[in-house]
Symmetry: C2
Subunit: 339 residues, 2 copies
DNA sequence: TTGAAAGCGCTAACAC
DNA sequence: GTGTTAGCGCTTTCAA
């Protein structure tokens, strides 16, 4: 039946060489004669040998993986960041070990501890808010730590992100520039999602800067805010704050939900009310009307993060902080003179 | 500056015990006196000790992780499967190591090889089609292999899935029952996504069973089919096949794209044309009109998979194949007498 | 309940 | 270009 699986020693014996030569043959840059290497690979193949990296990890004190924590698996923004990051790391022989926190910093703490036990070469976090213990664990780990999607004032180590507050300010400025004054905000009603809380803060300060009333705040639930929660929040907004001219939603998904509520009520967007989202998700570009949004360039965040990791690990100079500035995308849902 | 990080030996010395006692203290069920354990934990904390599982993995020949391969990070269906699976495995001390294949079986092969080197306790794949080498590697690995989201005729090992062809048959039957005959299909135009190809096959055979013409096939691109590709396919369908009464799309996302094209043309759904999707994504439940779809119960697939893994690893009897039957959800987009 | 010795399967370091 | 020796940091095993 199932016999003990082959190890390097077995391959070495079969190929008539030492284990060390087999070890070298399994590295790309090792100096092994072509014929020897071929014989080794043939023997390995016949024995069904699969290299055991658990042993290599221990001996070489290298694991060749990078831990990446994102809030949720099912989110195009974070998926795009991972999509930007993974191939660049992969080219350097670094594998990504992905974890997701469900937007919960306690869960993040558990994950960080679990992952650090496996000795990653570096760790990437989403957001700049963590438990005290998480910070302690990360600092003690003595590996590069990159916080992303945020610009924390007191970072653990390195940062690739943007100011969520400033991004929201861009959106408020845009709407005010279009002549709107009664602007509402639909977002999460906890601070569990720091990025969301920062966006709300950005909304408040930008409104204040324009001398506008910023009391039209609708709490839509716990992050992540779904399309459904966006729609439900819109019900409360339309019923509770008549005369609202514009709504900024915490994400395109909730903005789309808000849009569907308008459709069901026969309200025209942007004719009767203007709606804006955040994230430049695909749905913003295809729904009717298309949604004005902010593109935080998730893939760029991933690429810059990967490059930063490689630079640090290879001892190259690297800036401790990269600001990937978001872009405002103005489309149908906030266009003037339509609807 | 940064000194060599603490190991068990250091903790043992600080606590005045042997390394073996420290090792036991770090296991949950180990028999260590309460006072001893407390002293050890205190010492560990003061030294900033983080348990090194790379060493434990090697010695105990256990890694306590399960590799899970999904086609894409950014897909609510697969995210829900992982969401169903991860907590159950986690309760048993098994961590999920996630990989994504981009719907590419060559990429799957690379990933499988990489992951097997890290010696997972079990491996979960999405879909039943793999390269010959992938199959060989998996068989040689001598660990539980679970193929999901499919019911392959010749599985590598174990299966938790459903018949994508039969599911599509349910949808065709529903539309025919509503009186439609000129039914089109929008799907991927490669076989890279086996589940998609199976759905197309199911469409063809169900149409044939009803004696209907199944030539209205629109290729929408390479999987995953986006909302945009669904909209573009709808353009081709409406322009190329006048008189089409109903469209089945490969997923709710492409169905939503198709719906937006109808909205832009002023076509009523379901009045002028009927649209159905697949996957029971959130958007199907919130867009206007809501989309008739099929719920493949992604979380249940994950739960059953996790349970199967645990049963096999603990030597309990487990069926080699579980069929999680999908459910047809009929809503506004295919309702009779509306629009 | 605790400890001592041995060793998991590789690779670092050095030799030739 | 290849081999030898030692050992990574834990846990298995056996003993007390």
């Amino acid at each position: 039946m199932m016999q003990r699986s082959a190890r390097m020693k077995d391959v070495a014996m079969a190929a008539g060489v030492s284990v060390m030569t087999v070890s070298r043959a399994f590295k790309k840059d090792a100096s092994v004669k072509q014929a020897t290497r071929a014989a080794i690979m043939k023997a390995a193949d016949e024995l069904g040998y699969v290299y055991d990296s658990t042993a290599a990890n221990l001996r070489s004190q290298k694991t060749d993986f990078v831990a990446v924590l994102i809030p949720s698996l099912n989110n195009a923004n974070f998926a795009d960041t991972v999509g930007g990051l993974a191939p660049i790391l992969s080219d350097q022989g670094l594998q990504v070990l992905l974890g997701y926190t469900n937007y919960d910093i306690e869960e993040e703490e558990r994950l960080v501890e679990q992952l650090l036990r496996r000795r990653p070469e570096a760790i990437v976090l989403t957001g700049g808010r963590h438990t005290a213990r998480t910070r302690r664990l990360l600092q003690a780990a003595a590996i590069p730590v990159i916080e992303t999607w945020d610009l924390p004032e007191d970072p653990v180590d390195r940062v690739v992100g943007f100011s969520n507050a400033a991004a929201m300010g861009m959106m408020v400025d845009h709407l005010v520039g279009q002549g709107h004054g009664r602007i509402a905000f639909i977002g999460g009603d906890t601070d569990g999602d720091t990025r969301g809380a920062d966006r709300r803060r950005g909304f408040l300060s930008a409104m204040a800067a324009h001398g506008l009333d910023a009391s039209r705040l609708i709490g839509a639930g716990r992050p992540p805010i779904s399309m459904r929660e966006g729609a439900d929040a819109m019900v409360r907004l339309l019923d509770g704050y008549p005369g609202t001219e514009a709504v900024i939603c915490i994400s395109d998904l909730s903005a789309f939900g808000a849009l569907t509520e308008c459709a069901r009520r026969g309200l025209s967007v942007p004719g009767d009310i203007v709606i804006a989202g955040f994230g430049a998700y695909e749905i913003a570009d295809i729904c009717v009307p298309r949604l004005t949004t902010i593109d935080p360039h998730p893939a760029r965040i991933g690429q810059a993060t990967a490059q930063m990791i490689i630079d640090v690990l290879t001892g190259r100079p690297a800036p401790p902080r990269i600001d990937v500035t978001p872009t405002l995308i103005v489309t149908e849902s906030t266009a003037i003179g339509q609807g």
